[in-house]
């Protein structure tokens, strides 16, 4: 799938959205990040390949809007041991391409690396993001975020922060 030609303002808005989303995740701004989601949100981190059916096989994360809420509440409780203290994070989002734009929804591909530091040491996570961003009266919102880790078919450590 190749990138489609979009106006530079659309591309800029999309990039700024992704960078802001990344910053909110890195800074553990849970409420602000939760506010970016639409009601029909799907947050998906597949396992064991790229062309898999999350209704039939295991995934690392497969959250509908309700489960996104549960995940945030758990992190906000302060008792989520796997994030107590929270990981120190710095991520790069790059190679941003708009794959489709039907006037309402924008499909965006990008590449990420996250450097995570915890007591257990430093972990580098990397992969590709696919976002579906929807234009709403409140601005761009995320309807879908798919995280394709490069090592999703290998053993990976605990992933308790927002990737």
């Amino acid at each position: 799938m190749s990138a489609v030609a979009v106006g530079s303002d659309v591309l800029r808005d999309v990039e700024q959205f992704l960078y802001r989303e990344a910053r909110l995740c890195d800074a553990h701004c849970f409420a602000d990040w939760e506010a970016l989601w639409t009601d029909d949100a799907v947050y998906w981190v597949p396992a064991n390949g790229d062309d898999v059916d999350p209704t039939r096989v295991m995934s690392v994360v497969f959250d509908n809007r309700s489960r996104i809420g549960t995940r945030i509440r758990q992190l906000e409780s302060g008792k989520r041991h796997a994030q107590s203290p929270p990981s120190r994070l710095a991520r790069l989002v790059a190679n941003v391409e708009v794959l489709a734009d039907d006037g309402i929804e924008i499909t965006v591909a990008s590449v990420f690396t996250v450097h995570e530091s915890r007591v257990r040491g430093r972990t580098v996570w990397a992969g590709r993001y696919e976002h579906i961003l929807r234009r709403t009266p409140e601005g761009l919102r995320m309807a879908r975020k798919t995280v394709r880790l490069v090592d999703n078919d290998q053993p990976i450590p605990t992933l308790a922060f927002l990737i």
Binding site: V57, R120, I156
Partner: protein, 418 residues
Amino acid sequence: MTAAPIDWDALIHDDRVHGSLYTDTDVWAAELERIWYRSWVFVGHVSEIPQPNDFVRKSIGPQQILMTRARDGTVHLLLNRCSHRANQVCDLPNGNAGTFRCPYHGWTFANTGALLGYPFSSGYGGRERKSELGLAEVPRVAEIHGFVFGSFAADGPSLAEHLGSASEAFDRLARLSPTGEIEVTCGWLQHEVRANWKMLLENETDGYHPQFVHSSIFGVAESGIGELYGERSAAVVRDLGNGHTEDDLRPEFRRIGQPLGWFGTKPERVPQYIDAMRTTYGEDTDQILIDGSPHVMVFPNLFIAEIQLFVLQPLAVDRTVQHVTALQFPGCDDLNRRMLQQTIGSVGPAGFLLADDSDMYERNQRGVQALAPEWLILERGRHRERTDDRGFTVADVTDELAQRAIWRHYKQLMMAAP
């Protein structure tokens, strides 16, 4: 294997064990020899290789194992190592193939392990040794309800003898399925922890930790699970013998008396499953649905965790991979959907439950490096161990009977004759 002899008596007592058992590489090496490469180890489920010539890459401890189904239907456990010069003959996690061809020099093996041929055979000058040069096989393979176990020891107790009373857990699990069969078809997550495998082994039937480790999710989800693992719970921890242990929640589930209460749902939400169960089990159905699914740690590596399976794979003294999958029952789409989604939410690297358990394992592994104290204390509930009406030792579910039972069996294995 000629490390200095280890004084197991000095390290393992009835109610305390020495921290070095989790950090000493000589202990690790002895465990490979005495446990992983001798005893019965769970490998995979037959439903992972349903068709002739299916194969799936599995493990026994650090050893990579190919579990194959030959054309005649038999299940084989092969080592993924070319008999020629040690290349790996299989580089896919699963698939369907009657043969494996080594990429290095083209040696070709049947999925039974037999060497079928090699290129440029004149180079062997007529000294054909094909029959001696097959892939290595795990000497003993046995199944229970489709769960395939392997043993690197050519002789020793049978699988049935090794499982002893733990075999009832498999029977109980099968009775939760309308067809009596379970399916392992959802693939596995691989969650790595920087911890000795025994930190995990001792936690699977630990009933003391849930209210502390999992308080965040129990609170958010308004779950009643915490109370099952509390001081007022009627649930018990049971020593099943041979190192196998159980958290038996049935006393609580029977007290509550709700079919599917164990799974936090109601029969009306899964009508397809309920209809199928009543057709098969008739008036026994309600009791089966009240009693729920087993919570049993089958030594050394298989945790039957109600709606999911965990397999512990030790890779190093301080590194373990937890393989985890959701259980499925043939033909029960409505229940299967729920079991899969519940499993995805709770286990694996991002799991609401398992991320926090795994944090505990790693914290323990860091903590056990401290110079002092040297011992891990496993006294909880010693004063209230008792015998149940079938002769098993049980204690309150928050007690450390499981850990004591595991260490007793472990010590026997490590001190057995070579």
